[in-house]
């Protein structure tokens, strides 16, 4: 038996900052003749297994007039298949002590089942059945049912949430109309209404095929047995083709773009968003660190000025939102009652300017890196679910071709060059940005002019 393995220097307790630790998620990969890539990882800490499937399709692959379809399709995947009557996917898994879920973003759609180790074959049966035989049980009624659910997801997560429309408006303004990141993964109500049974058939045949996906089985498994079971359930499914890569048009802003949105809110909030490097491209990790230096913790520059000292903001956050084709960098701050968005903007711009001029201090940089390092350790604790080890293996495989890119990823932070962090700030946090003011209804005068 081989369990999760940490390769560590001799004495953890005497570990010094900057010293090498190599973290790894050992795996074995094989490919079925039909092109299905399978990645296995053993961890017997608890008697549970996670099956984690990534289809290499997301809302970025959608056609005009069908925004939100990849995500609607994700919902339909739970509604039964040729040999699994409607409702049984969840019932059978729960009856075995399992949980399951799925999610969609612009680039990929993932699904997982967390099950006790004796129920591995059930999960493989269910995953293979919906991959091989989804259309045998598809009806227009199922599409209608999930259409209503998804519209309520949109209401709950966007329309009925204070400031909830911000991300939709920002993407629309950052990316040109024909760019796959222009529209939101949740889609528009009109397009959700237009999605048809025929769309389901076409989307399934194009994207839900062995050559366009990868599967991780991780946890308390016996690898040889697991290989046999995977071969048994998945071999008969025709291979299909890899999806055509998405070739986005160039996306850049030439100058600042100001947008105002009224919402049912008490306090105005400003969002600033920039184009930034794609996930794992040079500058991506550096901007994660910039975000941490600007708004991670009480001593971060923006938090300290806006929230702690001046107390003109209720909150401030900054993050690099990494995606496959290109990313965005965000700063968000909510004004205190009676404080103005231009006041907030002035301080934010001052601090960005200062950072660009002076770069990070040694302590700031090390503080950010140390926090990343312990969050990497935290990721090794769970096998299943979103962000567990099974999901990570798929995520690294999808982005880099190497499922165990864990240590390389960590080293992007640990060995980061302070100059690169500074120049990422200089190169990307320019005046070419979207500045969105969300203001109380009827109070457009509170927006950044």
């Amino acid at each position: 038996m081989k369990v999760f393995r940490l390769i560590l220097p001799l004495l953890l307790s005497t570990m010094l900052y900057g010293q090498e630790i190599r973290l790894s998620i050992p795996y074995e990969r094989f490919t079925l003749p039909n092109g299905l890539t399978v990645i296995l990882h053993e961890d017997h800490t608890t008697p549970t297994v996670s099956v984690n499937v990534w289809y290499h399709v997301g809302s970025g692959n959608e056609k005009p007039g069908r925004t939100g379809f990849a995500h609607l399709f994700e919902h339909i995947m739970f509604e039964g298949s040729g040999n699994v009557p409607e409702g049984k996917f969840d019932e059978w898994l729960e009856a075995a002590g399992g949980n399951n879920n799925g999610s969609t973003n612009s680039d990929r759609t993932n699904y997982w089942e967390n099950i006790p180790s004796n129920a591995l074959e059930l999960a493989l049966f269910l995953e293979s059945d919906r991959l091989g035989y989804l259309l045998d049980a598809m009806t227009p009624g199922k599409v209608d049912g999930q259409r209503d659910v998804v519209k309520n997801e949109r209401r709950q997560s966007y329309e009925n949430r204070p400031y909830g429309m911000a991300s939709i408006v920002i993407s629309e303004n950052l990316y040109p109309k024909d760019h796959p990141y222009h529209w939101p993964t949740i889609g528009s109500m009109e397009d959700l209404s237009a999605a048809s049974y025929e769309d389901v058939v076409e989307f399934f045949k194009t994207y839900y095929v062995p050559r366009n996906m990868s599967m991780v089985v991780a946890g308390a498994i016996n690898k040889e047995e697991t290989k046999q079971l995977v071969a048994k359930w998945f071999s008969e499914i025709p291979s299909g083709n890899r999806a055509q890569p998405v070739l986005p048009p160039h996306a850049a802003l030439s100058q600042e773009k100001k947008v105002v949105l009224e919402d049912r809110v008490q306090l105005p909030r400003v969002y600033m968003a920039w184009h930034s490097p794609a996930h794992f491209a040079p500058g991506d990790a550096e901007l994660d660190i910039v975000a941490s230096i600007l708004a991670g913790g009480k001593n971060s520059r923006l938090y300290k000025r806006l929230v702690y000292e001046l107390q003109i903001a209720q909150d401030v956050s900054a993050f690099q939102f990494s995606s496959k084709l290109s990313s965005t960098f965000w700063i968000v701050a909510t004004a205190r009652a009676g404080k103005s968005l231009p006041e907030l903007q002035r301080v934010i711009d001052e601090e960005i300017g200062k950072f660009q001029k002076e770069g990070p201090t040694a302590r700031e940089l090390q503080r950010a890196v140390n926090q990343y390092e312990s969050s990497f350790l935290g990721q090794l604790e769970r096998v299943g679910g979103f962000g567990g080890k099974a999901d990570l293996l798929n995520s690294y495989y999808f982005a880099t071709g190497n499922p165990d890119y864990f240590n390389e990823d960590l080293m992007r932070y640990k060995s980061v060059d302070p100059q690169d962090v500074q120049s990422a700030g200089q190169t990307f946090l320019t005046n070419a940005r979207v500045v969105l003011s969300i203001v109380p209804q009827g109070k457009k005068e509170l927006a950044i002019p």
Partner: protein
């Protein structure tokens, strides 16, 4: 059928070593006519949970776990919002929040820098009956992080300037609640069930008046009364050795003074006596937030396992009746569910969902149908499915040091028996259909529930009124939350 005589041979990079994986096998043809037969479920074997006491009598509960070099340490204190003094609602919550705003010799910024620099996290928060100060740290930084935890727990300085800052932050949060349908629904629901005399009926953050009134002296007194060795326990989970951690804890916490905490008593509350409906108007809302419930049961009830199974059938999992009905069958919502919040005293039973505005009345009808339906015998299939779901997914709650520490918090808070975790599965599997029906009838009376809806009054009022669920009133957001604080 497809026969696989050999896989593509490829080299696979594993950790640091290159391994050539070569194997061949022939695939059996799968039988898809029924789900595969499953072998017996695995058993859960937890490591022992040794306990020891420091020289001041404070109990420490330890679970060693060495797969990842991380540690979670919780200082669990019998203090919480239910102990807020009369007229000082919100004091427990504010005290916990203030404990990391300066402690020992460090001010708020120095303390945050010291913790963040280690890559550690210290969190301090108050629940209803317990407060937890938690440390999450890489084992390699434990020696440096532990003294910071000790400072936060034992030596907070409560600087007046930080109190003023947090006061403004909290008043602003109160203001922002006016935007949040969920916050409004929660405040209204709790006061509808428990009234305004019992701590369970009041927002644990307090109100504008109490927040404005807090002084440094209030914080010092509350901390002094509640945070001491006689009223606290420690929970340690992760990659540590018993001997070493015991020595470290003794050095840092062994001198913590042991006192007696002041006793607290709570006013009695009476169960919801009739069905009432309150609509809180949120003009323009795209959905209606629905809350339906009554007073439930205390955590140490003998009916615990039967209630867990019953509630899971009703609204505790994806395939539960409420979610299947409101989401899958009708498409009214993204999700619906129910819960019993079990505390030292009976907490709320709650069924809830956010439904699209134009089906608010229809959704209420389905809620009532399910609340009545659960009073009848459940099916054999449901019993087996739900018992298995609750019992067999139990081990997955013991993966991270944080998860395990939370499980131990519960064990310590309620003085659950040593073998509690190891007998959990068998106790769930022993619940019968009769048990489920008995506890449903004992704790759920759909004719005596408070129904709270936060939504667009002019669009939903007529439909809801026509259901004639019970006496109905309408309120404004200000009726529920008070006037927005002036800042």
């Amino acid at each position: 059928m497809n026969k696989v005589s050999g896989f593509a041979r490829r080299s696979v990079f594993i950790g640091l070593s290159l391994l050539l994986v070569v194997f061949s096998l022939s695939a059996q043809k799968p039988d898809r006519t029924k789900p595969p037969e499953l072998g017996p479920p695995p058993s859960m074997k937890l490591p022992p949970i040794p306990r020891f006491t420091l020289s001041n009598g404070m109990n420490v509960v330890l679970m060693e776990k060495h797969d990842v070099p991380l540690v979670q340490i919780n200082v669990l204190v019998r203090s919480g919002s239910a102990m807020d003094p009369v007229g000082k609602k919100g004091l427990a919550s504010l005290t916990s929040d203030m404990m990391d705003e300066g402690a020992g010799t460090r001010d708020a910024l120095q303390l945050a820098d010291a913790i963040d620099f280690l890559g550690a996290r210290i969190s301090s928060s108050a629940g209803m009956h317990t407060s937890v100060v938690g440390l999450f740290t890489p084992t390699s930084k434990l020696g440096e992080a532990l003294p910071l935890l000790a400072d936060v727990v034992m030596r907070p300085t409560f600087p007046p300037s930080e109190l003023d800052r947090l006061r403004k932050e909290r008043l602003t949060t109160l203001l922002q609640w006016h935007d949040e349908p969920r916050a409004i629904a929660s405040v209204k629901f709790n006061s509808a069930i428990f009234g305004s005399k019992h701590p369970y009926g009041l927002p644990s953050m307090g109100d504008e008046k109490s927040i404005r009134g807090f002084t440094v002296e209030d914080l010092r007194r509350f901390h002094g009364d509640r945070f001491h060795a006689g009223n606290a326990s420690m929970i340690v989970v992760g990659a540590v050795q018993r001997g070493e951690i015991q020595t470290k804890l003794e050095a840092l916490f062994g001198t913590w003074e042991r006192r007696t905490a002041p006793s607290v008593s709570w006013p009695s509350v009476s169960q919801v006596a009739a069905r009432t409906v309150t609509i809180v108007d949120k003009p323009g809302a795209a959905q209606s937030e629905i809350r339906i419930g009554r007073i439930g049961v205390e955590r140490l009830t003998d009916d615990y396992f039967s209630i867990v199974v019953m509630n899971t059938v009703l609204g505790g999992s994806f395939t539960s009746r409420l979610n299947q009905n409101l989401r899958e069958t009708h498409g009214y919502t993204y999700g619906a569910g129910s819960s019993f919040d079990m505390r030292p005293l009976p907490g709320p039973f709650l069924a809830s969902s956010a439904v699209q505005t134009d089906v608010t009345d229809k959704a209420l009808t389905e809620f009532m149908k399910e609340l009545n339906g659960i009073l009848e015998p459940i099916t054999d299939e449901e019993l087996v499915r739900v018992r298995n779901y609750v019992a067999l997914s139990y081990p997955s709650g013991f993966q991270s040091v944080g998860q395990i520490a939370s499980q131990l918090n519960e064990l310590v808070t309620y003085g659950l028996p040593e073998n509690y975790f190891n007998t959990y599965i068998e106790k769930v599997l022993a619940v019968t259909k009769e048990d489920v029906q008995r506890v449903a009838r004992k704790y759920l009376d759909p004719s005596k529930v408070a129904v709270v809806i936060v939504g667009d009054l002019k669009k939903i009022e007529k439909g809801v009124r026509d259901l004639k669920l019970g006496s109905m009133k309408t309120e404004s957001i200000q009726d529920v939350l008070g006037k927005p604080p002036r800042l």
